[in-house]
Amino acid sequence: MSVDPATLQEGVELPPLEVAPGLGQVIRYCGMAWAFPPFFYDAEAARAMGMPGTIVPGPLKLGIVYRAVHEWLGDAGWIRQVRTAHRRPDRTGRPITVVGQVARVYEEDGARRADLELLIINEEQQPSVRAFAVVEFF
């Protein structure tokens, strides 16, 4: 899908993106980032650190928010900024949902842009991430 920047208004909701990042996706992230904290892929190590099990890396959730914004934006523009504030851990393999809405539509530096406010919601319906994004339309 793609949005129409000419008619876009504040309050428009993005389609929810539900994913369940599994161990395979977490290991792909670790390999790409060359970052291997054991609590991301080793349940015993995670429990030894007081966690209930392995958790989804925070930077992976940044990319998942990027994906939710991209899938809404389509070819109408590009993503200038995405920011995530991590509130609580998400367990590997558990469903999480990215939800969001348009907070502001404006002109800046000769371009039409929109600010988006987003959340990642866990299966207990608690926000695990607060996120913000800026998109620029073509």
Binding site: G50, L62, R67, R80, R83, T84
Partner: protein
């Protein structure tokens, strides 16, 4: 329980420190790794040389930066936030200088985790041979002492 600031001059002296500059190139392989990681599939259609690429590619290019020495002041650490910022779209095939920098250190008294220190680091992507930043990936880590954490509530 920490009641005095641990943000000493020695710790503050790390603010602004940079690692050596590295060099990265936006390649189909880097985009493939990022796309499969975040989207679970290759990026379609694959950008040709010189065409814009999605910002996620910076995640696969950050590894070309050299490591940054981070002071270890407190026993526990936690990721607080991440951010990608872009001044323009990156393009397939372009070369970028990458450099890590410790942008800021701040402290907080009280709260769910008790006394804590916040370390904001950035990896900047610049046009080679210039100081023109085209993208920035940043993160904030919190150091704290779990023995002093009160528990409950959200960390702001």
């Amino acid at each position: 329980m920490v009641e005095e600031s641990l943000l000493t001059e020695d710790v503050r002296a790390h603010i602004g420190k940079t690692a050596d500059r590295g060099l990265a190139r936006v390649t189909p392989q880097a985009l493939l790794r990022a796309s499969e990681t975040y989207f679970g599939a290759p990026w379609e259609p694959a950008p040709a040389h010189g065409e814009p690429v999605p910002g996620i590619v910076v995640a696969a290019l950050e590894t070309e930066s050299f490591g940054l020495e981070m002071p270890s002041v407190m026993p526990n650490s936690l990721l607080i936030s991440n951010e990608w910022q872009f001044e323009r779209q990156l393009r397939m095939g372009e070369e970028l200088e990458v450099q890590a920098r410790l942008a800021d250190i701040s402290e907080r008294f009280g709260g769910r985790f008790g006394y804590s220190l916040y370390f904001r680091s950035e990896v900047e992507f610049r046009e080679p041979g210039t100081d023109t930043v085209v993208a920035r990936s940043s993160q904030t880590m919190m150091q704290y002492d779990a023995a002093s954490a009160a528990g409950g509530g959200d960390e702001e």
